[in-house]
């Protein structure tokens, strides 16, 4: 079943609507496509943070927050995210399904999102406000500094950065620290006025509304302002893994060692063999009966947190484990052994069927969460292939063990990254 009805307002502006009584919240989600570079990430992460501080009508942050409270605690969130090497500005607005002030929730949400994007609070010289700018810059600088606080996420990012030194996917979505520090009101205002409206957009809405009415509300709010004429560039580039995987060790103030290993493949969401890859990853480490979970955690007792994941646009596979520092080499050995087993077709019928069932449920239940659904749809849009839930499930069901093994055998190990406690000197023993 297609949840969303798709409408193309023009090149560069598409609208996807799902009218449903299922949720008690009404959702409006806007994605803007951009290339992924240090510059776009820095500007496009900062810009929405400043824009959500105040609008022409509610020029102070407290006034805007009070407005959100008046709308029964409506929520506005912005971020800069990515799919492979495509940057995405995300602006989401949602509110409880309560009609008030003579307007349905979607109309309130369109009003809010439009005024945030296109009618911001400006200084007397027509610039974005410098006080908002400096506060949000300070906030993002803090975010950048805090990335290291979550050691699992930090290890994963460091593995990715080491793996993709010269590739766009190593760009951190918070952007570049030095560039961020240098941004003043003029360049940011220029990005707002000239770059933002030209980014191609996909707008999603979910809730208890009439499709015709909803399309009209959205078109009226954004049809004039969003031009969407720019080219966001490729979604992924391919680079082969080195002959011999690189081993990188870094230190941090941790108790556990955080191990992350990264493989490259040539698959992506739109490839005919993608279902085999995604199923291989599932059997490898994506769920509680996976090879990594059963062996690293249940059999060897090496880790509590262990697993793997696949990135659907660039075809990268990561395995991760939080282990006792003394046992990190053993963990590497077991991960490589289990990948080898998978690639050699050591897959039982139960492993295959349990993984298929688990994946099938994972795919089906995305229908219970608007955020998972439009995230899925965006992966499809970015990769140029939309899949219904049934099509995705059928793709998984049709996979044979040989195809799964073949997929896993095509993953080439690129990087072994170890984040070790400070007490462990580099390469030595603690």
């Amino acid at each position: 079943m297609h949840f969303f009805e798709d409408f193309k307002v023009r090149d560069g502006l598409s609208v996807h609507l799902w009218p449903t009584k299922k949720f008690r919240t009404v959702y409006l989600q806007i994605y803007l496509h951009s290339p992924l570079t240090d510059e776009t990430a820095t500007f496009l992460n900062l810009l929405p943070a400043v824009l959500t501080r105040g609008t022409k009508q509610f020029p102070e942050t407290r006034l805007l927050n009070t407005r959100l409270d008046m709308l029964y605690g409506a929520g506005i969130n912005s971020s800069f995210t990515r799919r492979g090497e495509r940057g995405l500005v995300s602006l989401s607005a949602n509110m409880a399904d309560i009609s008030c002030e003579g307007k349905v929730p979607l109309e309130h949400l369109c009003d809010l999102a439009r005024s945030i994007m296109f009618e911001p609070a400006l200084s007397s010289s027509g610039m974005l406000r410098s006080d908002f700018l400096s506060q949000e810059k300070a906030g993002i600088l803090n975010d950048i500094a805090s990335v290291k606080d979550d050691k699992d996420a930090w290890a994963e990012y460091r593995c990715m950065a080491n793996m993709g030194k010269d590739e766009a996917f190593s760009v951190h979505p918070y952007g570049d620290e030095d560039l961020l520090k240098s941004i003043g009101p003029e360049p940011l205002t220029s990005w707002w006025a000239n770059v933002l409206p030209d980014l191609p957009a996909d707008i999603f809405a979910v809730g208890d509304f009439d499709v015709v009415e909803a399309l009209e509300l959205i078109t009226r709010a954004f049809g004039g302002a969003i031009k969407g004429g720019s080219n966001p560039g490729p979604v992924a580039t391919y680079k082969p893994a080195p002959e011999i995987p690189q081993v990188v060790e870094e230190n941090a103030d941790t108790v556990q060692a955080k191990l992350v290993m990264g493989w490259r493949s040539r698959t992506n969401w739109a490839s005919p063999d993608y279902p085999a890859h995604v199923l291989a990853n599932h059997i490898f480490g994506q769920y509680s009966q996976s090879k990594l979970f059963m062996n690293i955690r249940e059999k060897e007792g090496l880790a509590y947190s262990v697993g793997s994941k696949i990135e659907p646009t660039k075809g990268l596979v990561y395995a991760f484990a939080g282990v006792d520092p003394k046992k990190v080499e053993k963990a590497v050995e077991v991960v490589i052994r289990e990948h080898g087993a998978l690639a050699n077709g050591n897959i039982t019928e139960n492993e295959l069927s349990d993984a298929k069932k688990s994946m099938e449920m994972g795919i089906r239940i995305s229908a219970d969460s608007p955020a998972s659904l439009y995230s899925r749809e965006m992966t499809g849009i970015v990769n140029g292939k939309r899949l219904t839930i049934e099509e995705a499930v059928r793709g998984i069901e049709a996979c044979k063990a040989e195809e799964v093994a073949k997929a896993a055998s095509e993953w080439k190990l690129d990087t072994i990254f170890k984040l070790m406690p400070n007490s462990y000197s580099k390469g030595g023993r603690g």
Binding site: N65, Y72, D97, Q135, S288
Partner: protein, 405 residues
């Protein structure tokens, strides 16, 4: 103000089975996933117990409830997670200070899964070997939390708020304390606390209510578990004052994170903890919410760069409000919060802030379920809403998710 209109809120339907098992259903029309949680009113805060009539009081190792939660997944017919997986379902469990819950999420095969859930909770099999091996896994789980500043800060706040109340104990215990867990300990607490009268089954999904209640009754009768011998859990006397007003924890973070706790006095709310909790949530929202004067001042003056995060936690014999923020200027944050709370105590809450807080809470209630009917257990609603096959362990910071990251 113009009128507002909304569909009615969702309600839970609750029945008590002859065995004493409480069954609650929240019907979610159109939802694909179906959840069931079987939860025992037994959590990490139980550290001593005595069977009625016995003289002897048993001391339980810290972390026993959580250890039991891990080990119940191992049964005679194999690992229960595997059984759920074979049915295409995911399973999980969590331990908080006052409850332990076991849950699954299914698409098809809901009633087969429900049968497994009853087996899981009612039919323990513990072996020396299995218990020993679990200690390694739980030790790594405890080590993982040592690297998590959010978790460690929150746990430390609790030990500073409470002098005696064992709710401040880390649900996982310590690497040291769990060494004392044996199969005997696990059997004893299971017998004492896992009888139907001490359990609640909560089901959420697009299911026929009569089928749910019928099957639950059948499974409950088939299990045939009798009421346990009465157990006394020793109560503690907790002073109204905090244990220590200030404390510091050194961890590798980019900037200080400040936790603040406001300890309520159970003598003030007696039996109406639910009502008190509601009042506390309006108060916290009015004082600390995104449109509050305090939050705005702190944000625009650069003391914080994210809205204040706060929550209220209430049970029969304790209650507190927690507040957390990362800041490079902890002293300013502390004094502003103090000033705002003291002013509210003196002159009351600003009427506009009060109205806005109520609006926000009405909105958020409508978005979640209405739990009016489920009274016996504090229903782990956050766990249910936050739980997905790859959900994060610490969905709320209150509950300690046991099995899975």
């Amino acid at each position: 103000m113009m009128a507002s209109s909304m569909r009615p809120m969702e309600k839970a339907e609750v029945r008590i089975l002859p065995s004493g098992l409480e069954v609650a259903l929240i019907k979610k029309q159109g939802y694909v996933r179906k959840y069931a949680v079987l939860a025992a009113r037994f959590g990490s805060q139980v550290i001593t117990m005595r069977f009625a009539g016995d003289r002897e009081e048993y001391e339980l190792p810290e972390g026993t409830a959580h250890f039991l939660e891990h080990k119940l997944f191992e049964q005679e017919k194999g690992n229960m997670e595997e059984k759920f997986s074979e049915l295409g379902a995911t399973s999980n469990a969590f331990t908080s200070s006052d409850i332990t819950g076991y849950l699954f999420c299914a698409n098809d095969n809901f009633y087969e899964c429900l049968g497994l859930l009853f087996d899981l909770v009612y039919k323990p099999v513990f072996s020396d070997l299995g218990v020993e091996k679990e200690k390694d896994i739980i030790s790594q789980e405890i080590m993982m939390t040592r690297d998590d500043p959010d978790w460690m800060g929150y746990r430390t706040l609790l030990t500073q708020l409470y002098s005696n109340h064992p709710m401040a104990i880390d649900p996982a215990g310590t690497a040291e304390s769990i060494k004392d867990v044996t199969p005997e300990v696990l059997y004893a607490v299971h017998e004492a606390f896992y009888s139907p009268g001490n359990l609640t089954l909560l089901v959420v999904g697009d299911l026929n209510p009569e089928d749910v209640f019928d099957v639950a009754a059948l499974l409950d009768a088939k299990a045939g578990v009798k009421a346990s011998q009465e157990v006394e859990v020793s109560t503690v006397i907790e002073p109204a004052e905090v244990n220590t007003a200030k404390g510091k924890l050194k961890m590798d973070v980019a900037r200080p994170i400040l936790w603040m706790g406001f300890k309520d006095d159970p003598l003030m709310f007696g039996k109406s903890a639910a009502k008190r909790k509601m009042a506390a949530s309006v108060l916290a929202d009015a004082l600390f919410g995104p449109s509050s004067k305090l939050n705005d001042f702190l944000y625009t003056s650069g003391v914080i760069d994210d809205n204040l995060a706060f929550d209220e936690h209430y049970a029969q014999d304790y209650g507190y409000i927690s507040l957390v923020a990362a800041t490079k200027r902890p002293q300013e944050l502390l004094s502003s919060v103090k000033e705002a709370t003291e002013a509210a105590a003196k002159v009351g809450v600003d009427p506009q802030a009060f109205e806005l807080a109520k609006r926000r809470l009405i909105g958020s209630q409508l978005r979640s379920f209405k739990f009016g009917g489920v009274h016996r257990l504090r229903v782990p609603c956050r766990q249910i809403q936050g739980y997905g096959p790859h959900g994060k362990a610490f969905a709320s910071g209150i509950n300690y998710s046991g099995r899975r990251q």
